[in-house]
């Protein structure tokens, strides 16, 4: 099943010719409209006209998340605000989130690619999609929603949370497709079990899970507990949102990245050199049709590999492997992006708290947990229990308010957090993925 058979099965020579044409156009566009790109291309002594083949892409400089933060909020936009119809921002960043803007055409493209993504996961008209990705600044909810409507499936915009209601709706509305984070699906399964709900009696048949790292073992567990086929979706707000790449129902082996709109590269995250097919490295994406905020060689920091081998589903678009980690220290906790440096700046902002902290991430009952250990020094110590407990609550509240992630703060004795030469160890991730 295809949504746009012509483009999804375009023979590779035609696909690559289309990529080159679109790449050249987007390079002209950003060079003329975005001062950041003019400066960065000039510094690298390359003009848009110098890019005559897809291989020439390697000569262009990268764009990083820091570049996006430095351009806060709109400096990377390549379209005037009169043409921007939607603004989203990335989850979980202190102070300055990364902001993305979409033109009407961008929303149409996103809807089409998300519709393709759904069809790739075997969704069709008549399906009832329970969309439990969060609606709001986060791209997950609205991204899937637009794609579902474009496809013509029935979408329930339930958003995340309120698990009891999720289970009730699942039973009463006859949802056939579930979209949420993989950990939340397992959490729902546990809740349903407590309430005596049998997934074998539900109509759910496929789940499209993403926005956080997961594993083959987790897939097995989800498929068994929820009695559905679990497929992997990939996307990030900087590039578009959900629907950048999707695992196909037929092959269930790697995620097709929509190459008529994105050019993927895999690089060595240390040297920046491009790696070959099958080699593991950092995914770099160039958007070749976006108008609002086109990004050239955006470093996603996600670790994967790529294959151009033909797939049994008939799509000619390359497949990226399940994300196996990050090339920076970003943590994804219940779908929320968290950098240790963000927690550090929150702690420093609390009077008297020294930035000697340790983050312990774990997964209990299928939900990510975050413990923030903070050393108690003389400045924050009190002989009264309530003062220290109030401090713990305050740390928890500020992290929740700023980052949107629930944590438990634990006060520990001084020097219990290991000091090391150079880069301190700030994170212990005990999740078995």
């Amino acid at each position: 099943m295809f949504f746009n058979e012509e483009f999804e099965t375009l023979p590779r020579p035609a696909l690559e010719a289309l990529q080159l044409k679109r790449l050249q156009a987007v390079l002209e566009r950003v060079y003329d409209n975005v001062p950041f790109y003019k400066a960065s291309f000039d510094k690298a002594a390359i003009r848009p006209g110098d890019v005559r083949s897809l291989d020439d892409l390697q000569r262009l400089p990268f764009t990083t998340k820091q570049d996006m933060r430095d351009s806060y909020p709109y400096a990377l936009f390549a379209a005037p605000m009169e043409e921007i119809v939607r603004i989203h921002a990335s989850s979980g960043t202190t102070g300055k989130p990364t902001v993305v803007g979409y033109t009407r055409k961008d929303i149409e493209t996103w809807s089409e690619l998300m519709a393709r993504t759904l069809v790739t996961a075997s969704v069709h008209t008549g399906d009832i999609i329970q969309n439990a990705y969060g609606y709001g600044l986060f791209t997950g909810g609205l991204g899937v929603h637009n794609g579902a409507e474009r496809l013509g499936a029935s979408v329930i915009p339930i958003s995340g949370g309120n698990t009891k209601r999720q289970i009730m709706i699942m039973q009463d509305f006859g949802s056939t497709v579930l979209t949420c984070t993989p950990s939340y699906s397992l959490f729902m399964a546990e809740e349903a079990k407590v309430e005596g709900v049998d997934f074998k009696k539900l109509k759910l048949r496929v789940g499209i899970f993403g926005a956080e790292p997961w594993s083959e073992a987790m897939r097995g567990e989800i498929e068994e507990k929820l009695n559905l086929v679990a497929l992997d979706i990939y996307g990030l707000s900087e590039i578009m949102g959900p629907g950048v790449a999707q695992e196909c129902f037929e092959g269930k082996c790697g995620l097709h990245i929509w190459e008529d709109h994105f050019i993927p590269e895999i690089i060595n995250p240390v040297t920046g050199q491009r790696l070959g097919e099958g080699e593991k490295g950092e995914l770099v994406v160039t958007t070749i049709t976006k108008q609002g905020i086109p990004l050239i060689r955006y470093r996603t920091r996600d670790i994967t590999s790529i294959t151009y081998e033909p797939c049994i589903c008939g799509r000619t678009h390359a497949r990226i492997a399940r994300m196996s980690g990050r090339s920076d220290d970003m943590l994804i906790i219940r779908g929320v992006n968290v950098f240790p440096s963000q927690i550090e700046s929150i702690l420093v902002g609390i009077e008297g708290v020294e930035p000697h902290y340790l983050l312990i991430v774990d997964r209990r009952d299928n939900l990510d947990t975050l413990e923030v250990q903070v050393e108690v020094d003389e400045q924050i110590f009190s002989d009264e229990v309530k003062v220290l407990q109030k401090l713990s609550r305050r740390i928890e509240k500020e992290i929740k308010d700023m980052l949107g992630v629930t944590c438990t703060a634990k006060l520990v004795e001084p020097k219990t957090i290991q000091r090391s030469e150079g880069k301190a160890k700030r994170v212990i991730d005990n999740r078995k993925l």
Binding site: F381, D383, L388, L411, E413, P414
Partner: protein, 143 residues
């Protein structure tokens, strides 16, 4: 009128209390009274010792977080209603007791209670007005 107490932060894990008492014992410091407040994660050990400065120094050297707090030691008649009379006098002045614990030794025929108030000076004045006997630090450390 005030007595110096030291408070020590300890994590709720085995051996920490033993470590504190060992350090103090090795330094020849005598513990005159103690109380432990605990939560599921941590505890606060409060001590009256015969040498406050030295105790603070040796514990800090071993990496503990230590603070000094002023508390009040009050003689309490050792009979039914003895403590109640004191608390009523404080309550009349709207003074809060943050915590309290008993001293090991008696003073004459009376028990001794250590109080931590929210307003220490006001509490001392209230107790004196009600003719309760407050013990000096020097006397207490050497009891």
């Amino acid at each position: 009128m005030k007595v110096e107490q030291i408070s020590i932060f300890i994590e709720n894990k085995s051996g920490r209390l033993a470590e504190v008492t060992r350090i103090l014992g090795d330094a020849g410091i005598n513990i005159r009274a103690l109380a432990l407040a605990d939560t599921s994660d941590f505890g606060i050990l409060r001590l009256i010792v015969n040498d406050v400065e030295k105790a603070k120094l040796v514990l800090k050297e071993k990496g503990f977080t230590v603070s000094k707090t002023e508390v009040v030691a009050v003689e309490v008649p050792d009979r039914p209603g003895g403590l109640s009379a004191i608390l009523q006098a404080l309550d009349a002045e709207r003074i809060n007791v943050e915590y309290m614990y008993a001293f090991v030794e008696r003073c004459g025929g009376n028990a001794v209670i250590i109080f931590r108030f929210d307003e220490t000076d006001k509490a001392i004045a209230a107790l004196k007005n009600s003719t309760f006997n407050i013990l000096e630090g020097e006397r207490l450390y050497s009891m």
